[in-house]
């Protein structure tokens, strides 16, 4: 018997994990290609409503983002009413005009009329704040707006 006994010990060979890094790198490259760096650190909840008649926002023209929604869990001290976020901090409605002017100052002159304001509003916010934002944008003469939405069936918003 001992003649046929293997010289090595009988334990199972280790699983070869050499391809694991390749798999992870594949995932990594996928994420690097399809995502972009977070522009703003969101202090508010921002679940966009869905719509199916959407147009793509052209990246070749400048876009400013205005966020609105109720403050997220960590910032509950700011209340539960929908708030406005400009850049990285919560802001008042009255700050919109200054914000738009600052955005305009940062872009080339010929692109100023092309500036689009993307409104990223949480679907649970009410229209009061959206109406106020629109009114301020009209005062600041920023007329091109885009209600940014997720793509999907619009009727599922109301469930």
């Amino acid at each position: 018997m001992s003649k046929f006994k293997s010289k090595k010990d009988n334990s199972l060979p280790a699983v070869n994990t050499a391809s694991l890094p390749d798999i992870v790198f594949m995932l990594l490259f996928f994420f690097m290609v399809v995502t972009v760096m977070r522009e703003d650190n969101l202090l508010i909840e921002n679940r966009l409503p869905q719509a199916d008649q959407v147009e793509k926002l052209e990246k070749k023209y400048p876009i400013s983002y205005i966020y609105a929604g109720k403050p997220s869990k960590a910032y509950e001290k700011y209340g539960t009413e929908a708030r406005l976020q400009l850049n990285d901090k919560l802001a008042d409605i009255s700050e919109i005009q200054a914000f738009i002017n600052a955005e305009r100052a940062a872009i080339r002159e010929e692109l100023i009329p092309k500036l689009t304001v993307s409104l990223k509003v949480d679907k649970e916010a009410n229209m009061g704040i959206v109406g106020d934002i629109k009114q301020e944008l009209r005062k600041a003469s920023a007329f091109r707006i885009n209600y940014t939405t997720a793509t999907g069936d619009a009727k599922s918003n109301l469930d």
């Binding site: 008649q53 876009i63 009410n126 091109r144 619009a154």
Partner: protein, 201 residues
């Protein structure tokens, strides 16, 4: 001397490094969601000239604080809104519009150029409901424009393209066809079925 093979480098930690990078990207990046409903806000005008519009040419959509929809003074479900809007826009009451296929009801809108959809909402209306209504109204316009595009497209050399496809093709730099001609078709449809959506403050 005996031949010795080069020692193998231990690559066991490579996966860990890749995982670290992967998790960094997962946390700091987002998948961009840059599409939505584009609108143009009306400028604030000084002169308050009253434009006289016939009552029958206005399609009133009211969205109250409880997200209930009142269309032309009647309660309506959101799923019926698109159909009602198309019916109103496509009516062609004064018979000047030869591409309308509506009922030609003299009590409804005269032609798509005169028809205006007026949307009013409360401060308490939820944003989700508002977007849904906007979406349905845009869909109604798109439905008519698509139909018109399929009618006139083949004559101008753009068969099997609806309005959405035409706009997409026009924006596409690699579009092989005649872009100036396509632009003409798009402009013609826009003039025939203009998007007149007014929002009451």
């Amino acid at each position: 001397m005996a031949k010795r093979s080069a020692p193998e480098v231990n690559a066991g930690s490579m996966a860990d490094i890749a995982f670290l990078l992967l998790i960094f990207f997962l946390v700091t990046t987002t998948i961009p969601k840059d599409s939505g409903i584009t609108r143009k806000l009306p400028p604030i005008e000084e002169n308050d000239e009253d434009v006289i519009i016939k009552e029958k040419n206005i399609f009133t959509v009211l969205l109250n604080g409880k997200d209930q929809l009142l269309v032309e003074d009647e309660l309506m479900e959101i799923k019926d809104l698109r159909k009602a809007a198309v019916k109103f826009l496509d009516n062609g009451g004064d018979r000047t519009c030869d591409y309308c296929k509506g009922a030609k009801d003299p009590k409804s809108s005269d032609n798509p150029d005169k028809a205006i959809i007026s949307l009013k909402n409360d401060r308490q209306t939820s944003y989700a409901a508002y977007i849904t209504v906007q979406n349905e109204l845009v869909a109604a316009y798109n439905e008519l424009r698509n139909r018109r595009a399929l009618e006139i497209g083949p004559k101008k050399g753009f068969p099997d393209m609806d309005y959405i496809a035409m706009e997409k093709a026009y924006d596409d730099v690699k579009f092989p066809g005649n872009r100036t001609k396509l632009k003409e078709v798009i402009e013609q449809i826009k003039i025939e079925i203009p998007q007149k959506l007014s929002e009451v403050e």
